[in-house]
Structure formats: structure tokens, C-alpha cells
């Protein structure tokens, strides 16, 4: 579904109204074969819950967080007809997560300081461009895995740039992907893979340009295309925050001047010289 998001969802304060929206977008208008089994239906529930997290929480942070279990329970409460199975929803969800037992993959969407470009890699075996990423090693948490894989593949350490709460998650063909969102990486850094036989190319891509052409048949991308919308939204939010920060600093400067709060040296750096 491609309903424009902003006007209707932006100012909603009622979770139920949002859930109704998501029911329409993800669940009740599916073709019957898409809901023909518990697993298939749960995949749609999961997508809807990620939509909730990605979009709605970014636009309207006042809405309460909902993990998949409570999300599902609320959906079913709103529309009981949606759950026609004999098994209970939380039991089904348990089985569902067991089903997703293949090794999770973590990676990073890396943006420059201007938030205009994204760094992508191409492997030696495939012609698709994607995020630097890799599988979790033993006893490694998501963030550590991401930092390690990114370092191996592009030679840059994102420890100081990564936020464990900022990521996009997707299940694709049974694999769980978590892509952390990172910005402020210097464009002129000399990126080099530490593992030379895996990565063939590393390149900055203009994000706006890429989003316009990403669904054309000639471009070859993996993961990036399925995450392009939350990426755009996150970028917009980051720019907004950056804009706000600049505005705050500017306003502070001006207020201090107005109220006479600035120290003398700051106001007139040449004063001492003139006074000599």
C-alpha cells in the first residue's frame, strides 16, 4: 500500500487508530493465500509491527512502544476476526521465533557528515551493492558484531558513531537483519577492506539520486531497496535534529548578546589590542 503517511499519522495520539491504519496496510487486504497459515500471517504481523516502530515512532514518539507480542494482542483485540487459528497468539509467536533460527546478520547504513551520501560495498561474488554486514559470532552482541564486520569490510571503526537503539530490522527469507544507522563519517577517509577476498568495491552513493533509481531494473541492490523508506525517514529526522541544534546555538548566541550576557573578550576580540 502506498498511502501518504504524514498527514494522517503525524498527530495521532491514539494507538488504536494507528493499529487500524496498520490493519488496513498490512493485514486485512492481503490475498487469502498470504494468510493461509499461522507463519505467513505472523510474517505480516511482524512487518506491521516494524512499520509501527520505524515510521510511527519516528514521526510521533509519544505513542507507546509495542513489542511484537503486545502488538499482536492489540491487533487481535481490535479485530478478532483476523485471528482464526486455534493456537494462541503468543504460543504461535514463540514457535515463529524458533523458526527464525538461522544466524542473524548485523550491518550498518553509513552516512557522511552532510547526511547526503551513503557508503555501500560490493562483494567479490555478487554484483549487488549493499551495507557492510556479517553474521554474529559466538557470544557477540548485535552492536559488537556490527562494529567488527564494518571494520573488516571497510577499515573504519564506527564505535563512536553507533547508537544501539537506532537500527532497521528485517526478516528476509528466514534471516534476521539488523542494520544500524550511523552518520558523521568523513567522506575523505581512505576505506580499505581488511579482508581483501570478500569485498570488491567500496563507494559513496548520493542518497537522493539512489532512491530515485533504486527500483529501476538496471540497478542492483540488496537490502538497501527494502529499507529505503525507513532510511529516508531517519535521514529527514536527523537533518531536522541537526537543524534544531543549529537553531538552538544561534538563538542562544543572539539572546546572550541581547541580554548582555556575553563576556567582554567574546564581544570584542580586538578591544585589548585597541586599548594598548
Amino acid at each position: 500500500m502506498s498511502l501518504p503517511l504524514r498527514p494522517a499519522l503525524e498527530n495521532i495520539t491514539s494507538v488504536d487508530r494507528v493499529l487500524e491504519d496498520l490493519l488496513v496496510r498490512f493485514i486485512i487486504n492481503c490475498p487469502p493465500e498470504d494468510l493461509a497459515s499461522v507463519e505467513r500471517e505472523l510474517f505480516h504481523f511482524e512487518e506491521a509491527s516494524w512499520f509501527y516502530i520505524d515510521f510511527v515512532r519516528i514521526i510521533n514518539p509519544t505513542l507507546r512502544a509495542l513489542k511484537i507480542k503486545s502488538f499482536a494482542q492489540n491487533i487481535i483485540r481490535l479485530c478478532p476476526l483476523v485471528w482464526k487459528w486455534d493456537i494462541k497468539a503468543d504460543e504461535a509467536l514463540q514457535k515463529f521465533s524458533k523458526y527464525k533460527r538461522s544466524i542473524p546478520v548485523r550491518g550498518a547504513a553509513i552516512f557522511n557528515e552532510n547526511l547526503s551520501k551513503i557508503l555501500l560495498v560490493k562483494g567479490t561474488e555478487s554484483d549487488s551493492w549493499s551495507f557492510p554486514r556479517g553474521k554474529i559470532s559466538k557470544d557477540e552482541d548485535d552492536v559488537a558484531c556490527c562494529i567488527r564486520e564494518v571494520k573488516e569490510e571497510i577499515g573504519f571503526d564506527i564505535t563512536d558513531h553507533i547508537d544501539e537503539n537506532q537500527f532497521i530490522e528485517r526478516n528476509i527469507q528466514g534471516k534476521n537483519y539488523k542494520i544500524f544507522l550511523v552518520s558523521g563519517v568523513p567522506e575523505n577517509f581512505s576505506f580499505k577492506p581488511l579482508v581483501r577476498n570478500e569485498i570488491d568495491k567500496i563507494e559513496w552513493r548520493d542518497f537522493k539520486k539512489m532512491s530515485k533509481t533504486i527500483f529501476k531494473s538496471t540497478s542492483k541492490y540488496y537490502l538497501v531497496n527494502s529499507m529505503i523508506r525507513p532510511l529516508s525517514m531517519w535521514l529527514r529526522r536527523q537533518k531536522q535534529i541537526k537543524g534544531d541544534d543549529q537553531l538552538k546555538l544561534y538563538a542562544e548566541e543572539q539572546l546572550k548578546l541581547l541580554l548582555g550576557l556575553t563576556k567582554d573578550e567574546q564581544v570584542d576580540p580586538g578591544r585589548d589590542l585597541l586599548n594598548m
Binding site: 494522517a8 487500524e20 479485530c79
Partner: protein
């Protein structure tokens, strides 16, 4: 089996689906709401 029940449930679901679609889509564009109303 309980085909009559299944049919009834399907029809109810269908009605609910149409109603919910109508309400949600209407929030985005009042014009659509008018259009749906006449369909």
C-alpha cells in the same frame, strides 16, 4: 464441516474489512471517502 459458519464469518470479515478500509483511507483524503461512499 461448519460451512455455514465459515461463510458467515467470511461475510462478516468482508463487511468489517470494507468498513475499516473506508474509515482509514478517509483520514488521508476526504475526496476518497466520498468516492468510496458512492461505490
Amino acid at each position: 464441516m461448519a460451512t455455514k459458519n465459515m461463510e458467515a464469518a467470511a461475510t462478516t470479515m468482508d463487511i468489517y474489512r470494507k468498513a475499516l478500509n473506508f474509515n482509514v483511507i478517509g483520514r488521508y483524503d476526504p475526496k476518497i471517502k466520498q468516492l468510496l461512499f458512492h461505490t
